[in-house]
C-alpha cells in the first residue's frame, strides 16, 4: 500500500523524466511558470532628448537602463535600437507617431522623453504613447527630479520602467527591487546588496567574519542574516534605515537561516538549543520564540508562504538526506514533497503556488547527477528542472513578480568560483549578475 501511494506521487515526476522535451514538460505546469510572454506588447524606446548640460555618462546609463529593464521584464517584444528611428522626441509635441507604427518598427507603444541637468538637479520627463491611438495616444506622463548623478539616472530609469511594466503588464515591475547576497574572499563573507540587474553592487555589513543567508524584510527596512561570532553562528539584524547593526538576542546553539513572515512581524529560523536543530518562530525582536518542529535530525531553511503567511516550507534531514517539506506554521500537517536525493534552499513563489529549490536527485558519493534548480507545483507535486549541466546550483529566490529567479552557481561547487545568476522562471534568459565569490542571493519583496 505505501508503495502504490509512493508510485502515485512519483508518477508525474517520472513522466516528466521519461523523454518529455523541455517545452512539453512546461505544458503540464500552469502558464504562470513561463517567464516570457510569447506575444507580448511590441514596444519601442527612444533615446531621451538630452538638455545642453546633461553629461553623456548620465544619458547613457539612463537610456541603457530603461531599455534593459523593459527587456528583462520578459513581457514585451522590444524593438531593437537599430530598428528604431534615430530621433529623440523630447515631448508629446515632438513625436511623430506614424514613424513608430510604420514598418519595420511596427511598435504598439513607444516610450520617450527628455533628460536635463540644471544646477545639481536631474530632471526627467517620461512619456508612454499608444501608437495606434492617434487621437489620445498618451498612456503615461511622469516627471522625476533628483540629485544629478549616475545613480539617480539609473534609479529614475528603474522607476519609469516599473510604471510602464505595471501599466501594460498588470503587475508591479521589479526594476526597483534589490538582491541581497553574500560576497567575500580571504576567509570572510559579508552581506552585500545590488540592484536587480546586477548594477550598484555594494557592501552592507563590515563584520569581518562569516555572514550567510541574508533575508530582507518585506518592507525593505532590515536584513536578517546568520553570522559567526564568539558563540557560533547566530541570527543578526542590520537596519537598512539606520545603516547599522541593530541588536538581536542570541539563542542557544547554532541559530541560522531566518525567514520573514509576509507581514514582517515574525521570523522563522533554525535553532539548536540542545544540539539538534528545529524550526522556531519568534517576533522580530527575537522574543516570544517557540519551537515548531521537534524531530531528531537537522531542520533548517524555512520560508513562509508569501501569499498566506500561514505555511512554512523547509528542509529536514529527519529521514537521512535533506528533503523538502511543508507544514502549517503551527507545526501541523507536515507533508514531504521530495521523494529522494538531496533537496535544499526552498523559495516560495509570490503567488503561493510554487516552490523553487535546489535538488540533487541522485545524490551520493560517486553518484552521477548534479545539484540543479527545480520548481515544484505544490498542489500536484509535479516539478520541472530549470538548470542543466552548470555545476552545483543553489539558493534560488523568486522575484516579487514571480517571473524571475535568481540563484547561485559554482562550476566546481566552491564559494570562490560562485556567481549569482538570474533567469526567467522557465529557465530561459539566464545571465550572470556578479563575478566570483558571490553566493546565497535573496530577492527583495518589492
Amino acid at each position: 500500500m505505501p508503495h502504490t501511494r509512493l508510485l502515485r506521487k512519483l508518477l508525474p515526476g517520472l513522466l516528466l523524466l521519461i523523454g518529455f522535451t523541455h517545452s512539453q514538460a512546461q505544458d503540464t505546469i500552469p502558464l504562470e511558470l513561463s517567464g516570457r510572454a510569447t506575444n507580448g506588447t511590441r514596444i519601442a524606446v527612444a533615446n531621451f532628448k538630452p538638455g545642453a548640460a546633461a553629461p553623456a555618462p548620465l544619458r547613457q546609463v539612463f537610456d541603457t537602463t530603461l531599455y534593459n529593464d523593459l527587456t528583462n521584464a520578459g513581457i514585451f517584444d522590444l524593438v531593437s535600437k537599430s530598428l528604431a528611428p534615430q530621433v529623440t522626441p523630447g515631448s508629446p509635441a515632438e513625436i511623430n507617431l506614424p514613424q513608430w507604427s510604420a514598418s519595420p518598427v511596427l511598435a504598439s507603444m513607444v516610450a520617450f522623453g527628455s533628460l536635463n541637468v540644471s544646477g545639481n538637479r536631474l530632471a526627467v520627463n517620461g512619456y508612454l504613447d499608444d501608437v495606434k491611438n492617434t487621437q489620445f495616444p498618451q498612456v503615461l506622463a511622469k516627471q522625476y527630479n533628483e540629485d544629478a548623478s549616475v545613480e539617480s539616472a539609473r534609479e529614475i530609469a528603474h522607476r519609469f520602467a516599473d510604471e510602464i511594466i505595471f501599466r501594460l503588464g498588470g503587475t508591479p515591475g521589479i526594476a526597483e527591487t534589490k538582491i541581497y547576497y553574500v560576497h567575500g574572499g580571504g576567509g570572510t563573507k559579508e552581506i552585500w546588496a545590488m540592484d536587480y540587474d546586477g548594477a550598484n553592487q555594494h557592501q552592507i555589513t563590515h563584520l569581518n567574519t562569516i555572514s550567510l543567508s541574508p533575508r530582507v524584510s518585506p518592507d525593505n527596512s532590515r536584513v536578517a542574516f546568520t553570522s559567526l561570532g564568539a558563540n557560533g553562528f547566530k541570527i543578526r539584524m542590520f537596519s537598512l534605515l539606520l545603516g547599522r547593526m541593530v541588536s538581536f538576542p542570541e539563542g542557544a546553539g547554532t541559530n541560522e537561516s531566518a525567514a520573514w513572515t509576509p507581514n514582517g512581524r515574525q521570523i522563522a529560523y533554525s535553532a539548536a538549543p540542545n544540539g539538534d536543530s528545529d524550526i522556531f518562530i519568534a517576533d522580530t525582536s527575537g522574543s516570544a520564540a517557540h519551537r515548531v518542529t521537534s524531530f531528531k535530525g537537522p531542520d533548517m531553511s524555512p520560508v513562509f508562504n508569501p501569499r498566506t503567511g500561514s505555511q512554512i516550507a523547509w528542509i529536514s534531514g529527519r529521514t537521512g538526506l535533506p528533503q523538502l517539506y511543508i507544514m502549517e506554521s503551527d507545526g501541523s500537517n507536515v507533508q514531504r514533497l521530495t521523494d529522494s536525493g538531496y533537496a535544499t534552499s526552498p523559495s516560495w513563489s509570490p503567488n503561493g503556488q510554487f516552490l523553487a529549490f535546489a535538488w540533487n536527485r541522485k545524490y551520493g558519493p560517486g553518484a552521477p547527477g548534479g545539484q540543479d534548480i527545480y520548481v515544484m507545483e505544490i498542489a500536484s507535486k509535479r516539478w520541472i528542472q530549470l538548470t542543466h549541466d552548470l555545476g552545483p546550483c543553489d539558493f534560488p529566490s523568486w522575484s516579487p513578480d514571480g517571473r524571475h529567479l535568481v540563484f547561485a552557481n559554482s562550476p566546481n561547487g566552491r564559494f570562490g568560483d560562485s556567481k549569482i545568476w538570474t533567469m526567467l522562471a522557465d529557465g530561459t534568459e539566464r545571465k550572470a549578475l556578479t563575478g566570483n565569490g558571490s553566493d546565497m542571493p535573496n530577492w527583495s519583496w518589492k
Binding site: L212, S213, G232, T254, S270, A272, M300, S301, G320, T344
Partner: protein, 269 residues
C-alpha cells in the same frame, strides 16, 4: 595511550528489541555473575524490560574495567550497568549515573567497588585494576596525566591526548574510532577538571551551506554526548558548528572530505 581498548558500541535499539527475552534472562544472571557477563548485559535499557510482578524488583549491577592491567600513567575505562537502582556510587568517584563509563588513571593497583541501591535492596560489583609501576617512574606522560596541576596543561598536552572525532558521510553517528577518540578525550578531561572544552562541528564542502551548519551541530553534539556519558560535566562543554565554512583542507577527494567531517576538541579559554 595505545593500550586503551575501544569499548564495544552499544547494540542498536532494534537489537535490544529482538533479544529482549534473552536479555531478560541475562539480566537475572548478572545478579549472580556481576562482573562476569557485563558485555552481554551492556545495552539493556531498563525501561525496555517492562513491568515486573514484584513491585520493588531487586537491583542488578555490573562493573568492568578495560583494560584490567595498565602501566602507570595509562588510562582505564570503567563501564557500569545497573538496573532497578536509585543511588549508585563508586568508591573514590562518588555518586554516578545508573549506567555510565568513566576513565580513570590510578597510580596503584585498585579495587573499584560499586554499590547500587534500589527499592528492592542493594547490590555490589567489583573490578580490580592492576597498575604496573616501574621501578623508576618516567617523568613524562605519567606525570602530566596524573598531576593535579591542571593550570599548566598546555595546548600541546591537550592535542597529544585529545584527538578529533571523524564521521561518515552525511552522518552524525559515532563510529568505533570516534567512540575511542571520545573516551580518550573524556579521560584527559576527567584528569584535568579545570579545562573547559570547545567542540567544533565541521562538514565537508559538498552540499548546502545551511544544511551543513545544522549537521555540524549534530556532530559536535554527538561528541558532547559521548563526553558526558564518559563522566565529563556538561557545563564544561561548549559547542560551535562551523558547517562547511572552515575547511581543514580543500582537495576534492575522499581523504580531504573525511578530514573535514569531524568534531574537533580545543581548550575553551
Amino acid at each position: 595511550m595505545n593500550s586503551i581498548h575501544t569499548p564495544k558500541p552499544l547494540p542498536s535499539s532494534r537489537m535490544v528489541a529482538l533479544h529482549r527475552p534473552l536479555l531478560l534472562v541475562l539480566a537475572g544472571l548478572s545478579l549472580a555473575l556481576s562482573a562476569g557477563c557485563h558485555k552481554k548485559t551492556s545495552g539493556i535499557d531498563p525501561s525496555s524490560l517492562g513491568p515486573s510482578a514484584n513491585t520493588a524488583p531487586a537491583p542488578t549491577a555490573s562493573l568492568t574495567a578495560d583494560p584490567v592491567a595498565i602501566d602507570l600513567g595509562q588510562t582505564v575505562v570503567l563501564n557500569w550497568r545497573t538496573t532497578n537502582t536509585t543511588v549508585v556510587t563508586i568508591d573514590g568517584i562518588g555518586q554516578v549515573n545508573a549506567n555510565g563509563t568513566q576513565s580513570v588513571s590510578p597510580s596503584n593497583s585498585t579495587n573499584f567497588h560499586l554499590v547500587a541501591k534500589g527499592d528492592g535492596g542493594a547490590v555490589e560489583a567489583n573490578v580490580r585494576v592492576t597498575v604496573r609501576v616501574p621501578e623508576r617512574a618516567p617523568a613524562s606522560t605519567g606525570t602530566v596525566l596524573s598531576s593535579g596541576d591542571q593550570s599548566l596543561v598546555g595546548d600541546q598536552a591537550f592535542k597529544a591526548a585529545v584527538q578529533d572525532v571523524f564521521f561518515d558521510y552525511d552522518s552524525d553517528d559515532l563510529r568505533p574510532d570516534g567512540q575511542q577518540a571520545v573516551v580518550q578525550a573524556a579521560a584527559f578531561l576527567v584528569q584535568h577538571p579545570n579545562i573547559r572544552v570547545l567542540i567544533g562541528g565541521y562538514a565537508d564542502e559538498r552540499g548546502s551551506a545551511e544544511y551543513n551548519l545544522a549537521l555540524g551541530e549534530n556532530r559536535a553534539n554527538a561528541a558532547k554526548t559521548g563526553l558526558i556519558n564518559a563522566g565529563v560535566a556538561p557545563g564544561r562543554i561548549r559547542l560551535i558548528s562551523y558547517g562547511k565554512e572552515k575547511q581543514f583542507c580543500t582537495e576534492a577527494d575522499e581523504t580531504c572530505y573525511q578530514e573535514n567531517r569531524r568534531a574537533q576538541f580545543t581548550i575553551d579559554k
